[in-house]
Amino acid sequence: MVIWETIFFWLFSLGAVVASALVIWLRTPLYSAIALILDFFFFAGLYVLLSAHFMAIIQVLVYGGAIMVLFMFIIMLLNLREETSSIEFRVHHGLAALVSLSIFAFMATGIMALSDQAGIKEVRANMGDATQIATPSRIPGLYADLNEEGLQSKFDAKIQSFADGSATPADGKYRPFPGAKFDIPPMMKGGEVNGRPVESADFGTVEPMSLLLVNRFVVPFELTALLLLGAIIGAVIIAKKRL
């Protein structure tokens, strides 16, 4: 089982990196768009490996389907053959490579620092009182973590104060709907293996996602509908011939 995950991870991640490089490398916009569609499929494969089944399907439908069809449509409508003009000066390419490589160095340093157990131990030894918030992580490859129990107990105390009437939700940001339960879907955790939690079989499928979207994230979810409506109206108005 683990060997298959490794094989498919390397297949999908190398494919994703090569396809992203092709998006930059190819000079015809249509070929770049096709490379980007390929890239989105590799990303969907990575999402399946991360047991994000719903997001993988949405990735193929929304990105590979809707957005890229829009791109191809515009490219064909404008009849773009070659890139109109690219920067000819080598110094610009060099500067761009320098900037992106330094951003990568910054991010890779951060990522590798997360997996450097000895370094984290040294930092924690010098932290003193602040050690309270950084506790050993239960995630493999990640050694420092926030003190989740402390944050969770604070959150629970706040919810409890809403429930027994000592504080009203109107003191905070949102007033809960009467009778609504702000429950976390119970099907996310499927037990523990080697002292760390593992996801349940339906983690990342439609049911827990929909429960989250209509419970805790109902306000941003409805705002998304408003955003899409505004985008439709804006696109129609901007693309009209006469403003």
Binding site: A16, A52, I67, L70, I139, F203, G204, G234, I238
Partner: protein
């Protein structure tokens, strides 16, 4: 060899930096847009990787909202590109250097 969170984060970082390079180098508005989509996608991968290793679905919800915003951005941005092409007869972003048409 076990695949850990670090591997997924590094893949996300590499594709993000390829997107940054493309945004800095490309002068064609549509290709530039595709590089922005690439950057958004690699951030989504990071969110979902953290989500799996923390056994917490919030990252999936974040990625879901990012996708919705990317769809809206693509619709409006492509309409803008269409307008720029009609006005300048070219997609070179260096030519569209003034706010007024």
């Amino acid at each position: 060899m076990e695949i850990t969170l670090t591997h997924y984060l590094l893949v996300g970082a590499i594709t993000f930096c390829i997107g940054v390079y493309g945004v800095l180098v490309k002068r064609n508005a549509i290709t530039l847009f595709m590089c922005v989509e690439l950057m958004l996608n690699s951030v989504n991968l990071t969110f979902i990787a953290f989500s799996k290793y923390r056994v917490d679905l919030d990252g999936h919800v974040f990625a879901f909202f990012i996708m919705a915003v990317a769809a809206a951005e693509a619709a409006v941005g492509l309409a803008l590109i269409l307008h720029i092409f009609r006005h300048y007869r070219s997609l070179d972003v260096d030519r569209a250097s003034e706010l007024r048409l």
